[in-house]
Amino acid sequence: MRALKSVLLTGLMLISLSVFAHVGSPGVIYQGKAGPYTIMVNINPPDVIPGTANISVYVDNQQVSHIYAQPVYWYAGNNGSPRADEALPVNGTPGQYQATVWLMQRGVASMRISVDGPAGKGSAIIPVMAVSTATRTMPKSLDWQLAGLGLLLVVLMITIIGASVSDGTQAPGTVRSSGPKKYMAMGIAALILFVILYGGSAWWNSWSSNYRRFLYKAPLAHTSIIKHGQQMLLQLSIDTTWLHNNNQLISYVVPDHGKLMHLFLIREQTDDVFAHLHPLRKDSSDYLTVLPDLPAGRYRVFGDIVRWNGFAETITDTITIPEKPVMQNATQNSPLLYSDPDDTYVTSNSINDNKNAFTGKFALICGKPGTEMKLADGSTATWQHTAGTAFEANKIYPLTFMIRDPSGQPAQLQPYMGMKGHAVIMKYDGSVYVHLHPVGNYSMASQQIIQNRINGNQKIPGLPDPERFRDSVDQLITKIRTMTEDERNNYLNANMKGMDMPAMNMSSDSMVTFPYAFPGPGNYRIWVQMKRDGRILNSAFDAVVE
């Protein structure tokens, strides 16, 4: 009973921090095409599986007759999808449609948004990771309501048992006896009810603990600095004991934008150092990259990976980089490891002041909506948003950034890892982290994998041989890494063919837009990464969300 009460009386609802391909930012946003239609989709996946996803579809200035949403699971393929649900127009908001779709099983799912209208039919596939992340306790009002009804049921049952062995079996009209038999029966009934309630409580607790066991947990990892010959390397080691205990396999990681892992380091407390690195793997669980010359301090580590079935997740850790890093596991006479050509890092002002605290070094002074900021190569970046306005939580905004070259002319942007831009948004306290692109904040590798599954044969997939799979992926990564930049961009563009996304089209446009809905109020820092004249351009901005 004590255990039962502890669950019943805990009170307010607590939601755990969800971590999979993001930290604390569960909404999935898609900006792109569905055949001839340009749509924006905001999916709020359930935090408990089975559960329902709420889907908003926005269509701008185009006539549509019907919009449908349909879950497509990677495991079950196209044929395994249930009938689609129609997204219905939202009264008072022209162009907005709303649907509720059930996600019944954990795993890699997606939403197929189908649009029908005068221009014909079109559809888009948007990956959704169907995982349970929430733990809740009972609200007090319900707690009291159920406790009251429970008490009534117990008292009434004891009464019924008492009546069953006393006047219930006496002929009508005879005297009602209330002898010891009645009270003994009532006592026994109370005892049995207590045992039943105790058993129920134990059952509930075991259910709860079983549920917690299957809550999604990102793999644990340990990040360290090691010496490799004369080089300083950053090593991220995924905890294999944890993998074993959670029945997870890590050999099946696939590249996203041509990289096995997108590793971000952001200095804690000040958020003034930001690095975007792309480690290679030494073996299934150890990822290595050349450590750039980062200022000392404690850093948050976010490693984004995608598995072969499209499951995208973020591994988190922290690392302290000393002034002169202490070496571990020093290896002599090892061949030189080269940095990935798309590795970059940038320093900026701290979140606590507006100055460059890096003596003798360039540092960005973060921009704000509507203001211009200077970048390292002399060009400027402007956040195209009304100055001085705060953002509303959970509302989709097109975060648009305009780049001008040092002469003040609109810049000619080049693709950076196949995209017009990459952005990372982090809440100052680190409780929200998300990596997004102009097409949205989902993993494009996941999207490609699910699309391939839909287009391929519809057999239930079996697990490939782990060593052979890992080896073939490693060979591909090596091949991509040794390509020239043009070859790499061509390869990435060819790979994304069929994923009808105008946002990837490299026009001469000097602006890049990231659709995003901030998940809650607070202060956020946004790092935007683009490329111009063969150089990676890092910019950073601050946003206040109310």
């Binding site: 408990v48 599986i49 089975p50 559960g51 329902t52 349909q70 879950p71 497509v72 699971y73 495991y75 079950a76 044929n79 395994g80 999808s81 249930p82 009938r83 059930w102 996600l103 019944m104 099983q105 799912a109 349970s132 929430a134 733990t135 809740r136 009972m138 609200p139 319900l142 309501q145 159920l146 009804l149 429970g150 009534l152 049921l153 009434l156 049952m157 009464t159 019924i160 008492g162 009546a163 069953s164 062995v165 006393s166 006047d167 219930g168 079996t169 006496q170 002929a171 009508p172 009209g173 005879t174 005297v175 009602r176 129920g200 059952w203 509930w204 259910w207 709860s208 549920y211 239930i460």
Partner: protein
């Protein structure tokens, strides 16, 4: 009411003049409780088919509405019966009722029904919270579903008691109607028992000892109680016949209606309801119980119950082992009549054991003999318990 001894003189003085107005008809709440029991079992089996075929539901999904209709119907009629007897009842009506909490008068059956209705309604917000916390319906038995199931079965049991007390406690000659109502009420509760434990009793488990252990726990307990509670010669058989009829009607009627999966992943596609199970052939082992009770009616209860339980188990085993094998493996069972084609939308229809016994569920030799030994012991024990339960039901007066 001649010769009745009243609780106190005042009660006798006030109420005795009205004592002559004893109702000679079956009270509406008795019919209502049996009807509620029917609603509950129809809704329950429909709900299982709904989950197998459509998947998606909500608090007010049609099968749930039918179940809740049963709860509301039983609860309201029973509450009305209690309140009417308490505040407007004649002395005879009060004297034919149980008195509780100092003021209320009502029949025992109505009290069970009220308890069941409150339990079912309590389970609704509990279940809703459960879904939000641990996920939407995926299993038959979770704590809130169990509360719902206990509530449902309590209403069904209340219906049986309502009929019995009406039969035993009132002076009228609707004996045949009462007997039929009792058998129907019993058969409906038996259907709930089967449904709740169908995981162990279905055709795929018919070659494992667990099927007969669970059957040995449930059926002698209930069927011997029913056989003992009434003077009907074939009470257990008739109860089993009601169970089989109920199951067969649902098996044959539901697939007539369109249904397609509304949840993914969908591995098995269809466009009509997937029915629940073909019933156990319980009529035959129930016949054995009735036969033993008739043949050995003058024997001591222990002997009678032991023989009845063992006879039940033997016939149940022989019949169900063979018939279960037919249902599970024969191509002649994969049709509308036997319904063995039914398959959950989320299960792979190519699964090799869809029409074969899964190796873990096949028992032979010593393992089977040991299991059947356990089944025999539990069948005797639960049969004895059922006999006592039936003896109590036989004595229910109010």
């Amino acid at each position: 009411m001649d010769g009745a001894i009243y609780l106190n003189q005042a009660e006798a003085a006030i109420q005795q003049p009205k004592a002559a107005k004893v109702s000679l008809v079956i009270q509406p709440y008795v019919y209502a409780s049996v009807f509620s029991s029917l609603c509950i079992i129809v809704g329950l089996i429909w709900d299982i088919s709904w989950h197998t075929s459509i998947g998606r539901d909500g608090l007010l999904a049609p099968p749930h509405d039918v179940i809740y209709l049963g709860a509301v119907f039983a609860g309201l009629f029973s509450a009305y019966q209690v309140l009417r007897t308490t505040f407007f009842g004649t002395a005879a009506e009060k004297q034919a009722s149980v008195k509780f909490w100092g003021i209320f008068y009502g029949p025992l059956g109505a009290m069970f029904c009220i308890w069941g209705a409150i339990a079912m309604l309590t389970s609704a917000p509990f279940d809703d919270w459960w879904h939000n916390t641990y996920g939407l319906d995926v299993v038959i038995l979770s704590p809130p579903h169990t509360l719902l199931a206990i509530g449902m079965m309590m209403i069904q049991f209340g219906a049986m008691i309502a009929v019995l007390s009406s039969l035993h406690g009132a002076k009228h000659d609707n004996g045949a109607m009462h007997k039929w109502l009792f058998v129907i009420a019993s058969g409906l509760l038996l259907t709930s028992f089967y449904t709740l434990f169908s995981e162990y009793l279905n055709k795929a488990r018919s070659h494992s000892a667990m099927c007969y252990i669970v059957g040995g726990i449930l059926f002698p307990l209930f069927l011997i109680a029913v056989a003992r509670a009434t003077k009907m010669r074939w009470a257990a058989t008739a109860t089993a016949a009601v169970y089989m009829s109920m199951m067969l009607i649902m098996l044959w009627v539901l697939p007539l209606f369109h249904a397609s999966p509304r949840l993914g992943p969908v591995l098995n596609h269809f466009d009509h309801y997937q029915p629940f199970h073909f019933p156990l052939l319980l009529v035959l082992p129930a016949l054995a119980i009735d036969f033993v009770f008739f043949k050995f009616q003058n024997k001591k209860p222990f002997i009678k119950v032991m023989l009845a339980s063992l006879a039940f188990l033997l016939v149940f085993f022989v019949v169900q082992w063979n018939f279960g094998g037919f249902l599970q493996t024969s191509i002649y069972a994969r049709n509308w009549f036997f319904g063995s084609y039914a398959w959950y939308f989320g299960a792979n229809p190519e699964w090799p054991y869809r029409f074969a016994f899964y190796p873990d569920f096949i028992e032979t030799g010593a393992s089977l003999a040991r299991g059947m030994g356990i089944a025999a012991v539990v069948a005797i024990l639960t049969g004895l318990l059922g006999y006592r339960w039936g003896s109590w039901m036989k004595r229910v007066q109010r």
